[in-house]
Symmetry: C2
Subunit: 455 residues, 2 copies
């Protein structure tokens, strides 16, 4: 750790891996917090990470894999033999298993599936078929279900016999199914407390319970848990067959991950996730894919300047103000973009409400434009001692702030309405528009006022 | 609704409010999804929103307030009489009550507290004293607790008697306390199933259970639920007295809100939240507070151009490239900022690991700098037919991409290490640095190559 000689805390792990000392590795990892373990592991090279997993029991390796960011977990598992990878994945909860598998390349994933027991591979394949941000992609398949013809006593007996296995299930409901697995009821375990053992569960259960379809998207699940203060909800397929349980905590977590991905996309990280442990080539290529689009758009926007070179050569001081107007309009526009994205997520505006957003942003744009324009105008006037120059940059910035606020507010709505991802495209579209209008306003106003600018 | 004549769906609400028809209002609101209700209400003017709440029962008004974004809820409650506001707030779950109260101005909050029953006001004041992103701020105070000297039968009796009241509690644990309220155990309700009524609960409960301190910050709670797959954890004060229960779903939700706030702050929304229903003056002032800092920083950065005006007048074509280099460096830097913020949240880097981040970003910066520099250089060469001009802009962009990636990666770490909020300050600091270095590189390289640029 040449970069940080004062912190030696992760050396024991590296030393244990180099010595292939499984005992020391396990001891080290299980005496620290998961966050520490995650950090320690992320410091290792890819090959050391896979050596690490190989030296642990499948169960312990799975616990470690659960703590890692999914993208990293997938990368490390890929370096293992398919047998080891399959065995470790088998130890993960069903939803996490499918999430990690989904991040493996197709060929890697099917090799691992072939190495899994047939039944497990089948159920994993089924989970992988769901989009990750749907009920099917988020649900767990570890839950209690009983046939509707049992009695309270039968259920209590089963709970006693399998108490240990169920302990890991987060159980507070059991789901009651008819022939063919169709969901017919939910049994609150605490209601068992209040019932006699000989009662049929069909009289104790809640009939026709709340449920979601397995293809319900994340936003619908968020709304469901907004409305119903429940810890989980059963998910059923098109035939009403119970296929899993969606927990509210997993929905909240998926919503948080979506926010994080949006933020990264907005900042030009195309896939919505980058970790510096990823290979350099991959990181560089993905960043470049977005930067090259941007540089082309920038060149288009700057061509407006090229068309006004005569004005610019006549009043070279204007060159100082062009980047300022470009940057400030970007800032004003981004504020409006952020508020639109936020309001869309909250559901307080809809993508078709363009006029409402336009009115609200225009009002802010006018006020902020006047204030910022005056500020910049005074700077221009004092610096060059020319009030007309001040007036030119003031009016250009004022008008362009208005343009930026309006477009910034509207672009995310239009992209959403047309099914585009507003996080990835709003920024480049906005700055291209505001740059072009900004450069045009400064240079054409200056062109019109040229006699008073050249003294 | 002049802006959208094709959608009349919210007119019934406006009509019912104008007619002061409480019946029609209730019917309208309770036949639509909460998301629809939230949207319908956000379309109303402030005074109509408060009229709306006044016309509903306190219980129904509270349900509606729960669906609103907290900032909006606080604004609407402020317009009501303190008695009405107090009565509606009393109907909210304890954690939400404190959250909304915390967003009221001090004077408004204490007036409302004075109108509440003394015991409730006291407990609300206590909750409000906790930072909102701490265990105390997130916990609920509706939970089951029993003295340790009871038997299983006593608990079952109590559960039967109060079944209805407990139904809303999300119960799956009961907490066992000693004299003075000190937490001594947790009772899993399903373990009651397996026990005889005469057994003392002290033999059934889990002794010395997991707990968190009431002042534990959000990040610690996230780590807790990372490590322990639980639905909730008891929170205790400095004396070990049980004060509430923190649910994992509330922790996940708070984490999502924090992500959203960070995003808005990064985009220049100072408080981390703005809704277009907020008063214009307030929205405009808050956005301006950030924009004026930015314009001053921009003027400082652009002054670099002013110092090189001679070079610029000699080679006016350079003026076209200045905004491109400024914008592209901002893009490259923002990518690195985003990855650093993400890795800090995930805990895979620590604020002191500057060298590690610098190495990783420098590698990407070199590659991307060369690619982008070549691209822009070729454009410059072809456009002006001057290969030296191409070389000047190519080298300036290449070097500045490297500078931007490195600073972008490091700034969030430095801000975090010094206790600043990286979301709010990273952007302006980054672009000021990269603008200054970018302008300096273009103009000083051009100055050095001046004889070959003027032909």
């Amino acid at each position: 750790m040449t970069e940080n000689p004062s912190r030696q805390s992760f050396d024991p792990l590296q030393a244990a891996i180099d010595a292939k000392d499984s005992q020391a590795i396990s001891e080290f990892l299980y005496n620290i917090e998961p966050a520490e373990a995650r950090h320690a592991v992320s410091q290792l090279s890819d090959s050391d990470q896979s050596k690490l997993l190989e030296s642990l029991s499948y169960e312990n390796a799975a616990e470690l894999v659960e703590d890692l960011p999914e993208a990293q977990a997938a990368r490390v598992l890929q370096r293992l033999s398919v047998e080891d990878a399959a065995a470790i994945l088998s130890e993960l909860p069903s939803d996490e298993q499918a999430d990690v598998m989904a991040r493996l390349p197709e060929s890697g994933a099917s090799a691992i599936l072939n190495a899994m027991p047939a039944a497990e591979a089948r159920s994993t394949r089924q989970l992988m078929a769901y989009p990750p941000e749907s009920a099917g992609g988020l649900m767990i398949t570890e839950f209690l279900s009983y046939r509707e013809d049992l009695t309270v006593g039968d259920v209590l007996d089963d709970l006693r016999v399998h108490a240990e296995r169920y302990r890991s299930f987060d159980v507070q409901y059991a789901y009651i199914v008819a022939d063919g697995g169709r969901l017919v009821g939910v049994l609150r375990l605490r209601d068992l407390l209040l019932s006699l053992p000989r009662e049929p569960i069909s009289t104790v259960m809640i009939r026709d319970p709340l449920r979601v379809r397995d293809d319900a998207p994340l936003q619908e699940l968020e709304r469901f848990f907004d409305r119903h203060s429940l810890l989980g909800v059963p998910a059923v397929d098109a035939n009403g067959v119970l296929v899993g349980v969606v927990r509210s905590v997993d929905v909240e977590q998926a919503a948080e991950e979506r926010s994080n991905r949006s933020f990264l996309k907005f900042m030009g990280i195309v896939g919505g996730e980058e970790l510096r442990t990823m290979p350099l080539r991959y990181r560089s290529m993905r960043r470049l894919s977005w930067l090259t689009v941007n540089i082309l758009l920038n060149i288009v926007a700057a061509s407006v300047i090229a068309f006004h070179q005569d004005t610019l050569s006549a009043v070279i001081a204007l060159a100082v103000f062009l980047p300022i107007i470009s940057d400030m309009s970007g800032c004003s526009g981004n504020q409006a973009v952020a508020v639109s994205l936020r309001e869309l997520t909250l559901g307080v505006i809809r993508p078709y409400e363009l006029w409402r957003v336009l009115r609200k942003e225009a009002a802010v744009g006018v006020i902020n434009g006047i204030v910022l324009g005056l500020l910049l105008g005074i700077v221009g006037w004092l610096w060059q001692g020319n009030i007309v120059l001040g007036a030119v940059v003031a009016s250009a910035l004022a008008l362009n702030t208005l343009v930026a606020a309006c477009f910034g507010g509207l672009i995310p709505l239009c992209l959403t309405a047309t099914g585009q991802d507003p996080a990835l495209a709003s920024g480049p579209i906005l700055t291209t528009i505001t740059d072009m209008t900004g450069f045009f306003l400064v240079l054409s106003l200056a062109g019109a006022a040229l006699p008073w600018l050249i003294q």
